[in-house]
Symmetry: C2
Subunit: 466 residues, 2 copies
């Protein structure tokens, strides 16, 4: 009864949702009955585990089934379903296509294989935060008081301590907690930039950043990214020509190429920053996924000209909306004021959970597990995608991304539109480049890179173009 049609144009996940909804609504699966386990169903229907997981989550959001931890999924009481049938689940579409992609990547609605996502799969994260921490939240009365605007004091100290251990001498008073790295970038832009400023960004680079900058009237200027880090000639010529106020760059496990800047490259960036008098924002959101510590800009500069941005969404999951800025001390009061103006204060709950997790030492263990798993997935994905006909840049060795070139004759626009219709989210290279580079590339999340649905789809397209 749970069969799906593999060659249908309807994505497998959608088929599963429809099938189970039908069984429940027709009464063939009565209230309270137990559904097969995710693994059983995946095996039986011949689909992947996360296709089933995501189908179950959509059924659960519709109020049709309930998860009972440890016991499995059960058909929800009819009363529940009636109350929830009024929900229009579909949120309204974004007005910007790139932000629309960001939403797809975050929400993964009707997506079986989120190969274009920048986040770890939910199944890798289930054990990241011990449930004892959540029980503690209730006892501690966390919601009754606001988190301090700059961030909970002990959390800031723990963040500073991690930076000190990584070789950056910094005090808790230089740390400002934010709702993730995006919020950090936005606070930096609204605090330190004004309309018509020019700001340099990695090209290719994080795709939301240029839109954030433009929303503040700031002009993003592309700087070429190379295997060893930033292309210093490109940086110098952009600096000379545009006299930018700032350079946003990602030194470690760069998004989307996966490369890391060398120590010499960091030194070169900072020399140019001094020569042309610009500030540097170092985006380090993937650094905890790097197996070896790398030299980084803030470490060399010691927070004189560099603002360091970190985040926990990449390692703990996108539900954990905490990032932070470690800034030159003189800039902290203005950054905190900008935080008041944007959100008043942070989430006491999220800050408490992260504080307890960091203090417990379990974050470190989780990170190690994730890194091991990424290394294995990376090897498997590299093989599978290579067999499918993709050309994989060998310049990056670690992290979550493979930067894959499409063979000639494959149009990335059409490819990603067709993939989307088949339940596969692809991140096309053009999205990461404001200069129009990278159109022949895809950024593929290694956790999904060997999924048969993805590799079969890409394989067929590459074969057809050959």
């Amino acid at each position: 009864v749970f069969d799906v049609v593999r060659k249908s144009t309807v994505p497998l996940g959608d088929q599963l949702v429809e099938r189970v909804s039908g069984l429940i609504e027709s009464g063939r699966l009565p209230e309270g009955s137990r559904l097969p386990s995710v693994r059983q169903l995946a095996r039986r229907a011949g689909v992947s585990v996360y296709t089933v997981t995501s189908a179950f989550e959509r059924l659960s959001a519709k109020g049709l089934i309930d998860a009972r931890p440890g016991a499995g999924y059960f058909v929800a009481p009819t009363s529940n379903r009636l109350a929830l049938s009024r929900i229009e689940l579909a949120p309204l579409a974004s007005s910007d296509p790139v932000l629309g992609f960001a939403r797809n990547a975050i929400e993964q609605d009707a997506i079986s294989v989120p190969a274009g996502s920048g986040f770890l799969p939910p199944s890798w994260l289930a054990d990241a935060v011990p449930s004892s921490i959540f029980s503690k939240v209730g006892r501690a009365g966390v919601l009754t008081e606001s988190a301090p605007v700059q961030g909970e004091a002990i959390l800031r100290e723990l963040l500073a301590e991690r930076l000190r251990m990584a070789g950056l001498p910094v005090a808790a008073r230089s740390v400002v907690v934010t709702f993730g790295a995006s919020h950090a970038f936005d606070l930096i832009a609204r605090t330190l930039l004004k309309a018509n400023d020019s700001v340099m960004v990695d090209d290719p680079g994080y795709f939301v950043l240029p839109i954030q900058l433009r929303s503040h009237g700031v002009h993003p200027v592309p700087v070429k990214r190379a295997a060893e880090g930033v292309d210093l000639e490109s940086l110098e010529s952009a600096a000379r020509l545009h006299r930018p106020r700032m350079f946003f760059t990602q030194t470690v496990l760069h998004n989307p190429t996966g490369t890391s800047a060398t120590a010499a490259n960091c030194h070169g960036i900072l020399k140019l920053a001094e020569k042309y008098n610009f500030l540097v924002v170092e985006d380090h959101v993937y650094s905890d996924l790097a197996p070896r510590p790398a030299v980084f800009l803030a470490q060399i500069d010691e927070l004189k000209r560099v603002l360091y941005v970190g985040s926990f969404t990449k390692v703990l999951g996108p539900g954990m909306r905490i990032g932070f800025i470690a800034a030159p001390e003189a800039l902290v009061p203005q950054l905190v004021d900008s935080k008041i103006l944007s959100v008043l204060s942070g989430s006491a709950l999220d800050e408490f959970v992260l504080r307890e997790l960091l203090a417990s030492g379990k974050y470190r263990k989780h990170t190690e597990r994730v890194r091991d798993r990424l290394a294995k997935s990376r090897a498997a994905a590299t093989n599978a995608l290579h067999r499918a006909g993709m050309i994989i840049e060998q310049t990056a060795a670690d992290g979550i991304f493979l930067w894959c070139r499409l063979p000639e004759g494959v149009d990335s626009e059409r490819l990603s539109a067709d993939a989307r219709a088949a339940g596969i989210l692809l991140a096309k290279g053009a999205m990461f480049s404001i200069s129009g580079l990278s159109t022949a590339y895809l950024r593929i999340n290694v956790a999904y890179g060997s999924d048969p649905l993805l590799t079969q789809f890409l394989g067929a397209r590459c074969a057809a173009a050959a």
Copy 2:
């Protein structure tokens, strides 16, 4: 050993922190020993319960004592203290005095009587969220996936349902979840306003709003607030003169005066909005504290010209950073895009907790308890402050604020500076007015309005001026 000196210039809370720190550091209170209960200590030292609570929290933040739920406070292990001694607890100061006040009100650092706060006391909120909800968070794997950008679907439906019950026909797809009302105002400003737009605001009114607007290059224009709502003549003349794009107003339990707009006043506002073609942002953050439902702008207008802003920080505590916008449907996609640009997405944790709380029916019960308690506190505070010499505007009957006039000869600037030195946070009227009105007023939170420390302080000042 816990004695404090009542006539000292050192605030009682500071004395207590110092006393207990000394006892711990000298070894007279050894590791693991139990401190007296908050009530015992308050009685013994002759201070209020929240002076003790706040002192204990500061000691706890310093790593000197630990709260063991159900059992009380204990001296923390020495190992803990060593690890935490490096913390610089003091965050850096704000660069703006009004934002500095906002931080004081949020953080309540070294404040015994936060009479100027706009939040309920933590002790009123401890039971608001049943601990079973927090345990559920851990089991549900909430952190492994992002909240949808627009807000968790069932939460949006529950919010829409509450609005429908209040008489505003609205669907979940018109609701955008935000990090509190401040975030909502900021999203509205960055989405719908541009530099040099004029925007009308209540005068007196919510004090952070004009600074938020100015940070977007928008000019706030004051509109006089009257007992029955907005002064319609003032509104019309501002609309005629400035051709504003928008009017931000608080119809129910207005901050700071506590008044609510009549139905006729709402009607008058909307007629002028149509005549002069401006949008209205209705700030309804205190509406759940009103004992009787009131007619409101969004209800009459049905979200054509009105954006409705709600929040849970006022009823659940400032730690619960969730608010929302119910907007005309055509504006939702742009508001959602602005949310991506400001924070990427919301807190999955906070949204889960609020969803479960609203679905459980316990929010309603908590709200009723809070309203009862506010009514009693309001009566007591009115009496106590009247006896102290304050002149209390009788136009408001409900909610959290008393709008108190100082007798002639009392300078509110000096009064609030001296109060701060004595551990009392006062919200002076001038802060709420961009036109320079209200300098002779204080906004007093009824929950703290009959605190002897406050009434004695004010009584002495009023007597000296008479």
